[in-house]
């Protein structure tokens, strides 16, 4: 079975490059010829994951595994971790600073958007160690 994996480094606080990884991932999926709405879901989910790593974490990586029907996304960072995952997942919950909000982030929608975009979603986090998000997205029947 054919599958291909890409990994992108995401730097903390690097706003000038923020969004590059998800935009490369989208380009890759278009070249692969993936179904348009799947491509869009992956683009949104990876963008949110990328921004969270830039804004809230100490840096990390995003990997995508692409096979003909599904895309698996792994977003992993090096800390500081999320204290209360349930709270973080709530729509509208955000710890973003005023500066970040001025930049248009911090609506507290990122994690719930990621979940909405994925067919399978899991999040694990340990204070002091980091956060890992796994998402799986597949072509929907009839598309």
């Amino acid at each position: 079975m054919s599958a291909i994996k890409y990994t992108f480094q995401i730097e903390k606080d690097d706003f000038s490059r923020a969004g590059e990884a998800s935009s490369s991932i989208k380009k890759i999926l278009m070249q692969v010829g993936s179904e348009p709405s799947l491509t869009r879901r992956v683009a949104i989910a990876t963008y949110e994951a990328e921004m969270n790593i830039v804004i809230h974490s100490d840096g990390g990586t995003i990997s995508v595994m692409i096979d003909p029907k599904c895309v698996m996304v792994l977003a992993k960072d090096n800390g500081p971790g999320i204290e209360n995952i349930e709270l973080a997942m709530k729509e509208g919950y955000s710890t973003a600073t005023d500066r970040i909000r001025e930049m248009g982030f911090g609506a507290g929608m990122g994690l719930s958007n990621m979940k909405k975009c994925s067919d399978e979603f899991s999040i694990e986090s340990k204070i002091g160690e980091g956060t890992t998000i796994m998402m799986n997205m597949c072509v929907k029947e009839g598309e």
Binding site: M1, A3, P36, I66
Partner: protein, 436 residues
Amino acid sequence: MEKEYFHSVILKEDRCIGCTSCLKVCPTEAIRIIDGKARIIDERCIDCGECIRICPNHAKSAVTDNLNVLDKYKYTIAIATMSIYGQFQPNISINQILNSIKAMGFNEVYDTTLGAKIISGLISRYLLLKKKVEGPLINSSCPAILRLIQIRFPDLLPNVVDIETPMEITARIVKIDAAKKTGLDLKEIGVIFFTPCTARATSIKNPLGIKNSYIDAAISIKDIYGEILKNLSVNPSYSVNVETTKETLKWVSAGGQAKSLGMEKYLAVDSIHEVIKVLEDLELGKLEGVDFLELMACRESCIGGPLVIENSFIARAKIGNHAKSLSPLTYTDEEIDQYIKMYEEGFVRLTETIEPRLVMSLDKDISKSIQKMELMREILKNLPGIDCGVCGAPTCRAFAEDIVKGENNHSLCIVKTIESFKNKNLKRKGENKIES
């Protein structure tokens, strides 16, 4: 086999010196330089005309018609883009311009006001109210943008309003009227559009969202400009029955369409590369609170089309001046009802679905595509990544893509070649040293 994809941008080979200027401005990476000449990958061309504008040697051109087409019809109608009003000295009136066109041998002459009025009425009083899709409605009036969305943002196709372009709607109405008036068959009536761009010229032969266009030919403003100038002094005996309004006239300059809707939550973006950035944001769900998006491929919108003469900023000022003396756009309730009927009956609606066109993919078969991606990644490791364009592809990535697709087999990476040449020399020098 897929039928050959028709587009209007062409290359005048004798003028092309393979300078690579056009490579980088192409928003769909549709150009390669092969054997020293630019080549267009047909199915990727969206006819935006960026390459026509940038080519310093005027080697990029457009397939358009000339006045000889008039001979093919018993009755002829000219429809001019309203950007034509921005092309002449400020003292030349709209009436004079249209009379000059008529004097070329047309039975009737119009601009695209009628179509613009109907679209504006339908969007503001009907479609925006019954909008179901998430996110803003996107204008359908620029065919280059539609083709861009088909190729690069196919998931946004449902946001595009399903209404025909102003030129097409105007053509339908005046052609059918003329048939009634003259008793002629539609086939005997020729509707000729005076176009500011290649994208509209393409839409006549290769329409989007409709089965067939009611327009029969397109003449480029650039080509016909001299002829119009010559005729400007003809006695304006013909009283032109176009009802151009302040708002519809401004449809051809940036923001004009959105403004004509009389709403607040809109965003108007001109220039294809800026449009791409905004569509990328929209795709990520970053454009909140926008109900209507006006997207036009050309800088300053149609007055900056690739086939017009005047600088777009000057043209905008001229259009603004003409607009001052025009009356404002108004609708009666009966008119709106009539437009809604036209829409519901499919007369002004896009009746065919606009399908995504996945022309950026490496292979039709996803598994094979993935294998080719893998190969591409290996090749990319060996390319310098400086996107110099000398290999004939716009970027190293596009070059790698061409290699795995088995295209452009003759080119090579000059940077890589020089490097390996240097290395060989260094090695040889090294060997010499050891010997001596």
